[in-house]
């Protein structure tokens, strides 16, 4: 396998314009001769489907939910960044580029990130024109806020529902193309295999989730916009259905998987309350602006917080990071919470939580100010926990919420399989080892509205593609594989539910490949994952048939893939002998306990190639060069 990133040469400010000019165009009259499959209908998938449909291509768009509007982009709260500099506070394309490369801890491609920052301004224009109800000032101009510790106000938002409003904008554009006859929507359909003919992606095999019918769809190009794989941890802020199946099955058809161990953990989520827990809910990190984080000083102190005197509390972030205090970056806050819980000083029934206390802020500012700033978040907290955060401290704990890793793509968003494009969170993206707040929405829409429509045209115009039909032997072979897998799962009739395996896998991953990792733990986890996978295929119990709506069967297929992906994540984490961004290896830290990068040996993208389940994957390295932003060490002391 050759990794050709197709990075443009020349000055970075002109690179994307030049690349667009160099791309071949498809004649308007010929666009309708091409069929494109888009899997996923979130920001990346819906924007791509709408835009490609508008251009004249024939689009088939697939989602497993009952409507494209349900995709998990909808849950993003905070906002979307754009280098508009409407606030006249010193923002620029270069500054957004600089912040993103640095925030990614120098593990992303400069050219990609620069393009993302450039396109950010077009995204806002597009969304405004679509009627996205962004927050406004009284004069009617767009409002901005500062987010995630950025020094400029460049975040556009629609209350606490920015993801919802951007997704509905893309969804409405998509539905418009449905009416125009350019997009055919396939809801409640799950992609279960990729079809590769003569080395090129030519279609997919899906299962209709209502009838169970296995179907083939042929096309000239396939786009995977299927989101991240955070649910490998079982508990995450992802939706219940979010899964890795599409990208994992593409990986098994030899699409390289890049940086699988780069996962992001959000420090302020509502803690787990019991074994039945089905998901974790994120609370905006803006809460840390006024809340103080603490745990009892003594181990196992189970007194209620108001009974613990000031002198017996440990405000550990303020103690360890006097200059940043409670506002240290996400990864630092998360690791410290884990550390105090590991010392058995965690709070709540299960000891997996820390207090986020607003008592001081309420005394200082008055309850009405706190209500004005955080009222909706306090209500949400109350709804879920039954506790009133105006009276008792919130309990929070970190949770997985984004995966920076994903399928490897070149500058044109094409994977190592020609004709297979990957967009949004599903690709290994522009976020390096750590994503900045309000950047996920930006990337999903940049890919779908403004990058893919050019690069996919270039691919189609450059290729001589014979039409293929779904009666081709490769389709038949993949259909048979998919059917065998499905009936295989039903035939096991073991003694454990799918969920029990998913929970066990999630706990393993959280303990050994979560907030902090070490070689011994990762080796142990790899062994355990293999055992669990073996047990899965002997002892899982899936009832019902494959000819009906069978939610357990859907879950079973996804967990089977998570059980394989988990191993690759551990292999990647084990090989990367450094700490960077969301990847913290305990062996590699500075004397004061901070992440220690090794630019000399690890300034590369790790792209893994599948060699069979019983063989270790092979590693390909794409070196990263930094011409514009020079690597530095982060410090928050």
């Amino acid at each position: 396998m050759e990794l050709n990133s197709k990075l443009p040469s020349g000055p970075i400010e002109k690179a994307w314009d030049q690349a667009k000019f160099d791309m071949k165009l498809v004649n308007p009259a010929n666009k309708r001769k091409y069929d494109i499959i888009v899997v996923g209908s979130g920001l990346a998938g819906a924007s791509a489907s709408a835009t490609l449909g508008e251009l004249g291509y024939n689009i088939k768009c697939f989602c497993f939910q009952d409507s494209p509007r349900r995709a998990h982009s909808i849950a993003a709260q905070g906002g979307i960044n754009a280098a508009k500099n409407y606030q006249n506070d010193g923002d620029s394309i270069f500054r957004l580029f600089y912040d993103t490369v640095k925030g990614g801890d120098f593990r992303s491609r400069e050219a990609n990130v620069y393009r993302l920052a450039q396109i950010s301004v077009n995204i806002i224009d597009q969304c405004v024109a679509q009627g996205v109800p962004f927050a406004r000032e009284y004069g009617g101009t767009l409002a901005n806020r500062s987010f995630g510790g950025a020094q400029v106000s460049r975040t556009f938002y629609a209350r606490g529902q920015t993801g919802q409003q951007l997704l509905l904008g893309a969804y409405q554009a998509l539905e418009r193309q449905v009416t125009a006859g350019k997009v055919k929507m396939f809801p409640r359909a799950e992609m279960l295999s990729l079809v590769v003919i003569d080395g090129k992606a030519r279609g997919i095999v899906t299962r209709d989730l209502i009838t169970g019918k296995i179907e083939s769809h042929a096309a000239d190009a396939v786009v995977l916009a299927t989101g991240g794989y955070g649910n490998v941890y079982h508990l995450s802020t992802n939706a219940r259905g979010s899964n890795c199946t599409a990208i994992w099955r593409a990986y098994k058809h030899s699409a390289a998987f890049a940086n699988p161990c780069f996962t992001q953990i959000h420090p302020t989520c509502i803690p787990v309350s019991g074994d039945y827990q089905s998901k974790l809910t994120l609370m905006s990190e803006s809460l840390r602006n006024d809340g103080r984080i603490w745990v009892p000083q003594a181990k196992g102190d189970k007194r209620s917080p108001d009974k613990i005197p000031e002198a017996e509390r440990d405000y550990y972030l303020e103690r360890r990071y006097p200059s940043f205090g409670n506002l240290v970056p996400r990864d630092v806050a998360s690791r410290n919470a884990k550390a105090v819980c590991d010392e058995e000083r965690g709070v709540g029934e299960h000891g997996l939580g820390v207090f986020l206390d607003f008592a001081d802020a309420i005394e200082r500012l008055g309850v009405h100010v706190i209500r004005e700033r955080y009222g909706n978040l306090f209500d949400m907290y109350e709804r879920i926990t039954g506790e009133d955060p105006y009276k008792v401290p919130m309990r929070i704990f970190p949770a997985i919420h984004y995966t920076m890793g994903g399928l490897w793509v070149d500058y044109e968003l094409m994977s190592t399989i020609p004709g297979l494009f990957v967009t949004g969170e599903a690709n290994f993206s522009d976020h390096g080892a750590n994503r900045l707040g309000a950047s996920a929405l930006m990337q999903g829409l940049a890919d779908g509205y403004f990058i893919l429509p050019y690069t996919i045209g270039d691919y189609l115009a450059s290729m001589k593609l014979e039409k293929v039909r779904t009666d081709h032997a490769e389709f038949k072979r993949e259909e048979a594989n998919v059917a065998a897998l499905t009936t295989g799962l039903l035939a096991i009739k073991g003694k454990r539910t799918v969920s029990s395996f998913h929970r066990e896998l999630g706990k393993l991953m959280w303990d050994y490949c979560g907030m902090s990792r070490n070689a011994k733990g990762l080796q142990f986890a790899i062994g355990k994952i293999r055992e669990l996978r073996e047990e899965y295929w002997k002892n899982v119990d899936v009832v019902g048939s494959d000819k009906e709506l069978n939610q357990a069967l859907e879950h079973a297929g996804r967990v089977a893939d998570f059980l394989e992906l988990a191993e690759l994540m551990c292999i990647d984490a084990l090989h990367r002998n450094e700490s960077c961004g969301g990847h913290f290896r305990e062996e590699y830290q500075t004397p004061d306990g901070e992440a220690l990068r090794d630019d000399e040996h690890y300034a590369y993208v790790a792209a893994w190639e599948f060699q069979g389940l019983d063989q270790p994957p092979s590693l390909h390295k794409e070196p990263l060069n930094f011409e514009y932003v020079h690597p530095t060490q982060r410090s928050y002391k």
């Binding site: 709408a50 835009t51 508008e54 939910q65 009952d66 409507s67 494209p68 509007r69 349900r70 998990h72 909808i74 849950a75 409407y86 224009d125 597009q126 969304c127 405004v128 024109a129 679509q130 009627g131 109800p133 962004f134 927050a135 406004r136 009284y138 004069g139 009617g140 101009t141 767009l142 629609a158 209350r159 529902q161 409003q165 509905l168 969804y171 409405q172 554009a173 449905v178 009416t179 929507m185 209502i210 939706a239 219940r240 259905g241 309350s273 019991g274 039945y276 827990q277 089905s278 998901k279 809910t281 879920i384 039954g386 403004f450 429509p453 539910t497 029990s500 119990d541 709506l549 357990a552």
Partner: protein, 258 residues
Amino acid sequence: MRITLHVWRQKSVNQPGRMVQYEARDVNPEMSFLEMLDVVNEELTLKGEDPIAFDSDCREGICGMCGFMINGVAHGPRRSTTVCQLHMRKFKDGDVLYLEPWRARAFPVIKDLVVDRSAFDRIIAAGGFISVPAGSAPDGNVILVPKQNADLAMDAAACIGCGACVAACPNASASLFTGAKITHLGVLPQGQPERYQRVERMVAEASRELFGSCTNIGECEAVCPKEIKLEVIARMNRDFIKVSWTKRGKSGNSAAGG
């Protein structure tokens, strides 16, 4: 806690359904309602019985995928709350709960508590958009929007498309849903060129999908998890009457509206 559940079980769209009784034992008050059903389903699975099918995805009240009737109330007893955000502490030990799918001709039951809401997508496809191809937008601040309008648009745009309004309505009307989108786009300057054509097409589609008419009962507003106000229906009606009387937008030419 122990809860007795009577759940609508229906194999598929063409088969008759019936209520079946289940006992949920050891219910932890901290569980969400759907987590309680997850536990019931695990027990059913281990007994070799078919688990209860119900839709859900984000489980944080924003995707709109979940929803069913609990004792005749869409999304259950807590106001402004989707069923995924409803917690068992809201119930008492020994409670008896009846769970049924949304009931509406336009929402056929697929299985158990799962219904087909694709009619909502078709209403949006009929006109619930602003036609603006990627690349053709002017700078964001060229279009000034008074804050009041932006806030009003956002209130309406908060709709999650769950279908509770239809399920609660004695006429199974989709007016709150349709009116919410018409209001969202209709109060923004960007939405003006297609304003009347939009209302005409969306209302016609809702009626083609066999949703009923609105008779101002207000059940929809009472159960809406996002607190969409009845006002959106009045706005829809006003625009619809205007277009019906003036025949604006009849030509299908988007320039005719506004």
